[in-house]
């Protein structure tokens, strides 16, 4: 198949890129490929809001400063300044395309407060912001005749020849056969890597495929050791219990019934910043003051004192979710929660134009690291990032494609790729179960690369991951059929995750400081002297090779981060 632009990933970033490219020129043929139907992407899970400066009293500088400070000064400030300026128009575009944003009485778009933002700038559509954004983008996309959607195609590799991108290979899930998409430009918008962790707010599909594929093809990954943890994930599934629960006055209790936050943040109590609360909760658990449940220790999120009326009025979805997914009615019982893996700050190293190290290859959204989130993302900044940089990627790729020559995937590449997937992986026999490997990987991540990290645990993790990688060579896929072989795709995903886990673990081991979400017990201070720099990881067959890159600072010199 031949297209001008191939976009992999149909989340907010991928679909925004497709629209941007289609708007650029009607002559461009655009393929949008994803392993699920577009509206099944992970972005639909986003709840709270999308940041943008819309109203009097707010300013670009303020939004930028909040973001930079939130990032613990690891964000590239030129990127942040560009980003904040582009957010508002994206909100209005979505509005014009039908997004049912929540409204003020006067009919203007409403905004709500969000953690770390010093102005109410989270634009929201009830508590289903991501869901409505995805549907709006998807539906708008249907207007463009030059966008062709290929749902349920699973990308396996990126074809790069002569230093330029040629296209991608994908398994058509329905038939089980491999298809090759040749293109002048390829955009990856494949999302984060949250399923590295066992306890996570992420959808099952977020396995970091795009990150791993790019990485294996020599494109470096940036800042992968930074993973955000949200304080309140519902047990057992990890479904997000929004910050609003605490905002509305909910308590966090340990097993002695004590509001332990008074010992960690006596002033802000439960509404202290995410990383502070997460660390406090985890300390309670480690020190044995968590509740014991069937699914391990937990902390109680108590809303009972708010009363049924207020819960129904302000947090109806939370109540619904707690009942449906944990069998707990918050009106009668406290909700069992614990901190949960929530966001991948790192990603494919790109510049502000979403360009990467390879010509014609672009990345946007959570899989990219333009670096506006640095060491810690602010809530509501990531859907905004997907919109802004999705657009940039689409436009830049379109410009590039209008002047580039058609990519060609060689016969050799095709044969090698088919052999790799169907003969070497699907065809072979072995005695390892990929699911067992995944379980052990998740356990390792959850115990050694969690909120508190230290050298010993990280070293163990690295060893374990390398052992798992070794064992992975010996996996057997039981389902030998072709059509909709989810056994095969799961196994491929697990292979991707192992590579990424290694990058995360070694990167974390090397970074001997605490910054944002990366907290080292053995190095509890931020160290601007030595570590105010981005981690860059390159693939080698023996494991990742690391390099570092300076942070771009325009206006704001690093200061102590206090809230």
């Amino acid at each position: 198949m031949q297209h001008d632009i191939v976009i992999v990933g149909a989340g907010i970033a991928g679909m925004r890129a497709a629209i941007a490219a289609a708007e650029k020129s009607k002559r461009l043929s655009i393929a949008l490929i994803a392993k699920t139907y577009p509206i099944r992407c992970h972005s639909v899970c986003a709840e709270g809001g999308t940041a943008a400066v819309l109203r009097e009293g707010d300013s670009f500088d303020l939004h930028a400063w909040d973001t930079v400070k939130g990032s613990d000064f690891l964000a590239d400030q030129d990127a942040v300044e560009f980003f904040v300026r582009e957010c508002p128009v994206e909100i209005i575009r979505l509005e014009n395309w039908g997004c049912p944003w929540s409204r003020n009485e006067d009919g203007t778009i409403a905004q709500r407060p969000f953690g770390g933002h010093s102005f109410n700038r989270a634009t929201y559509a009830k508590d289903r912001t991501g869901f409505h954004e995805v549907h709006t983008l998807y539906e708008r996309m249907l207007m463009y005749d030059n966008i062709e959607i290929f749902p349920e195609y699973f990308i396996t590799n990126l074809a790069i020849e002569n230093g330029a991108v040629q296209g991608v290979s994908a398994i058509h899930l329905k038939t089980g056969y491999m298809e090759f998409f040749q293109a002048k430009a390829v955009i990856f918008a494949t999302g984060g890597a949250g399923r590295l962790y066992g306890f996570t707010t992420y959808s099952h599909q977020v396995t970091g495929d795009g990150l791993a594929i790019a990485y294996r093809n020599g494109i470096p990954l940036k800042d992968m050791e930074f993973f955000q943890f949200h304080p309140t994930g519902l047990i057992p599934s990890g479904i997000l219990m929004t910050e609003g629960c605490r905002g509305e006055g909910g308590y966090l209790l340990n097993k002695n019934g004590e509001r332990f936050m008074k010992r960690y943040a006596p002033e802000k109590m439960e509404v202290a910043p995410r990383d502070v609360v997460s660390r406090a909760m985890w300390t309670e658990i480690i020190e044995g003051r968590g509740f014991e449940g069937e699914y391990g220790p937990y902390i109680a999120l108590d809303l009972r004192h708010l009363g049924e009326e207020k819960i129904e009025e302000r947090l109806p979805l939370i109540r619904d979710a707690a009942i449906k997914f944990a069998g707990v009615d918050p009106v009668e019982e406290p909700i069992p929660v614990k901190p949960v893996a929530h966001y991948t700050m790192g990603g494919i190293d790109t510049n502000v134009r979403c360009e990467t190290a390879v010509k014609g290859f672009f990345a946007a959204g959570e899989c990219a690291c333009v670096s506006i989130h640095g060491a810690n993302r602010l809530g509501s900044n990531s859907t905004a990032e997907c919109l802004v940089f999705g657009r940039v990627a689409g436009e830049v790729a379109a410009e590039y494609a209008l002047n580039a020559k058609q990519g060609k995937i060689s016969a050799e590449f095709r044969q090698k790729e088919e052999k790799r997937i169907f003969d070497d992986l699907l065809g072979k026999s072995g005695d390892e179960s990929p699911y067992q490997i995944k379980r052990e990987l998740n356990e390792t991540m959850d115990s050694n690369m969690w909120i508190f990290r230290e050298e010993k645990g990280l070293k163990e993790a690295v060893k374990k991951i390398q052992e798992l990688k070794e064992r992975y060579r010996n996996v057997e896929i039981n389902d030998k059929s072709r059509g909709f072989n989810t056994d095969l795709t799961s196994a491929i995903e697990i292979g991707y995750m192992l590579d990424l886990a290694e990058v995360v673990a070694i990167g974390a081991l090397k970074r001997q400081e605490s910054r944002g979400a990366h907290y080292r017990l053995d190095y509890p201070k931020r160290d601007d002297e030595n570590w105010l720099k981005h981690t860059i990881a390159y693939y080698t067959p023996e494991g990742p090779k690391f390099d570092y890159k300076p942070v771009t600072i325009t206006k704001w010199e690093p200061v102590e981060r206090k809230y």
Binding site: C45, P100, R103, S237, K324, Y435, R439, G483
Partner: protein
């Protein structure tokens, strides 16, 4: 232990298979399916992603009723749980059904805001009061899970029929105060595959996991469509 009876299909033959799953409080049917896939039979195929009832992947027939596997608690279902693919969709493999046609139908109703002053480069904020928003908001909640389509009697016998979800999408935009595309959409909805094929069986609203009330949307759309076309006829 809960017994799971699953309807399998491998592309050629269809058969039942049973598994014993250790169920605990909080376990959903989706988790049980993953448990089966990861421990007993990894060839079991099903769709799932968000596991929080918002992506629409995991609708299937659980104890005869279409539900989202990810929001159905195993312990509420008794000792035996029967899992089958949705009716009215062609089965591809096990619990996975063909959805291409379903999305085609959604696309066919022009489910996007249509405005003459559409300006990509310099968009302007349009005002909409909370009341105007409420006019259509409930119909935006559709996750395209297909549960409604699987129980609609018209969809059972007519492959091309638009079905409740697509018609709900059409109405959602027609009822949006910002939209100017009603006429186009009424014409589409009034095709023989459209609103006329609904006989208010209302099962769609009964099974919708998001309480979108598709039956209401279809009935409102039909009324508007009928009157709009009759009006244009009288003007001839």
């Amino acid at each position: 232990m809960v017994r799971f009876k699953i309807r399998r299909y491998d592309g050629k033959k269809s058969y039942w298979q049973s598994f014993e799953v250790p169920a605990r409080r909080g376990m959903t049917v989706l988790e049980a399916l993953y448990y089966i896939k990861e421990n007993y039979d990894s060839s079991l195929a099903f769709r799932a992603s968000c596991r929080m009832g918002i992506c629409g992947s995991c609708a299937m027939k659980i104890n005869d009723k279409p539900r989202l596997a990810c929001e159905t608690q195993v312990l509420t279902l008794g000792n035996t749980v029967k899992v089958e693919p949705l009716d009215n969709f062609k089965v591809i493999k096990d619990l996975i059904t063909e959805f291409d046609g379903f999305f085609e139908k959604h696309k066919a109703v022009k489910p996007y805001l249509i405005r003459k002053d559409d300006n990509y480069a310099e968009p302007k904020e349009l005002l909409q009061s909370p009341e105007e928003l409420n006019e259509y908001y409930v119909f935006t909640l559709c996750i395209k899970c297909g549960a409604c389509y699987s129980v609609c009697p018209a969809a059972a016998t007519l492959d091309e029929c638009l079905g409740p979800a697509a018609m709900t999408a059409a109405y959602r935009f027609c009822a949006d105060s910002r939209d100017e595309g009603q006429k186009e959409r009424y014409e589409i909805a009034s095709s023989s595959n459209g609103v006329w094929r609904c006989h208010l069986a209302m099962e769609c609203s009964e099974v919708c996991p998001k309480n979108v009330e598709p039956a209401k949307a279809v009935q409102l759309l039909r009324r508007k469509t009928a009157f709009s076309i009759l009006k244009s006829l009288l003007r001839w």
